[in-house]
């Protein structure tokens, strides 16, 4: 059965991200009340598994081992209907 997950990978908060900073500055310049901008990627993955629990464990492994690099990225995992 197919189980869908959203994996959000962001550059870790402690790492200087010049792109995000530039965007933040530009938005502020446009007078938006923006406090902070962080950047990342979103992956939608559909996993074929026997149960939701099994699928979630696989999604977690994929997120941690392949989709993100722990040296400078953090990830969030969300199941999707």
């Amino acid at each position: 059965m197919r189980y869908n997950f959203l994996v959000k990978v962001k550059i870790a908060p402690r790492i200087y991200d010049p792109q995000a900073v530039t965007i933040e500055k530009s938005l502020k310049k446009l007078s938006y009340p923006v406090i902070e901008v962080r950047m990342g990627k979103i992956f939608e993955i559909g996993i074929d598994a026997l149960s939701e629990e099994k699928a979630r464990l696989l999604a977690q492994e994929i997120a941690a081992k392949v989709l993100s690099n722990p040296v400078f990225e953090v990830y969030e995992l969300e199941p999707v209907k």
């Binding site: 550059i11 790492i15 200087y16 010049p18 792109q19 392949v66 989709l67 690099n69 040296v71 400078f72």
Partner: protein, 220 residues
């Protein structure tokens, strides 16, 4: 002395790396990414390029190739030296054979130009010039690692080359480093582009020859 040049789908700098190795006194051979074992090579080189298009992250997919399992074993068995150049360095970082990671250049775009590098005082490069000029050509050369890692690298004299003028925001201007045993080397600049008489200079030749001497020294 035998050197392998590993070719992944998307590797671009294989031919000139092969030629550079031949010029430096190695007998070079190409090794395909899905060969699961490595013959008797003194040096394994992962050349530059865009393996897997640099999709996901540079080196992130190539590190899962069958040949990388063989490279990991080559390293743990201490069979020789592994040198990763540019994308090759990125693959070694993603695979965990070297500490840290590469991020996008601070300026946000690709840079190609010759840069001056300070050669740190290390065993491998003790007998070459103190300053070399080599090409960089990358969009993801910003080396990062946590302070603990950097400190450890410094203490063990693992930092090999530093940019005189930091072109990409790399931590402490780090351009090349090695593992504690000096059996795995990663280098963002391209030594292979400085080995022929018609090249910018022969600084790259000095680097390859120093590596050859290092292999020799380790044997005896």
């Amino acid at each position: 002395m035998r050197a392998a040049v590993i070719v992944f789908p998307g590797t671009n700098c294989d031919s000139e790396t092969y030629e550079a190795l031949q010029r430096s006194g190695f007998q070079a051979a190409y090794v395909w990414h899905d060969w699961a074992s490595l013959e008797d090579y003194d040096l394994i080189v992962l050349p530059g390029g865009f393996s897997y298009g640099d999709y996901l992250r540079p080196g992130a997919i190539a590190r899962f190739s069958p040949v990388m399992k063989a490279v990991e074993k080559y390293v743990s068995d201490e069979r020789g030296i592994v040198l990763g150049i540019c994308n090759g360095f990125q693959i070694l970082l993603e695979d965990g054979l070297l500490p840290g990671a590469m991020m996008r250049n601070e300026c946000g775009h690709f840079i190609c130009k010759p840069v001056a590098l300070k050669v740190e005082n290390t065993q491998i490069f003790a007998h070459i010039k103190r300053r070399v000029i080599l090409y960089i050509a990358h969009s993801d050369g910003r080396y990062i690692a946590d302070r603990k890692t950097i400190k450890k690298l410094e203490e063990h004299h693992c930092l090999l080359l530093r940019y005189e003028e930091n072109p990409n925001g790399a931590t402490d201007g780090i351009a090349a480093l090695a593992n504690e045993n000096f059996t795995v080397i990663g280098m963002m600049p391209h030594p292979e582009r400085s080995t022929a008489s018609y090249h910018l200079n022969l600084d790259g030749l000095e680097i390859f020859q120093a590596i050859r001497r290092w292999i020799h020294a380790r044997r005896s």
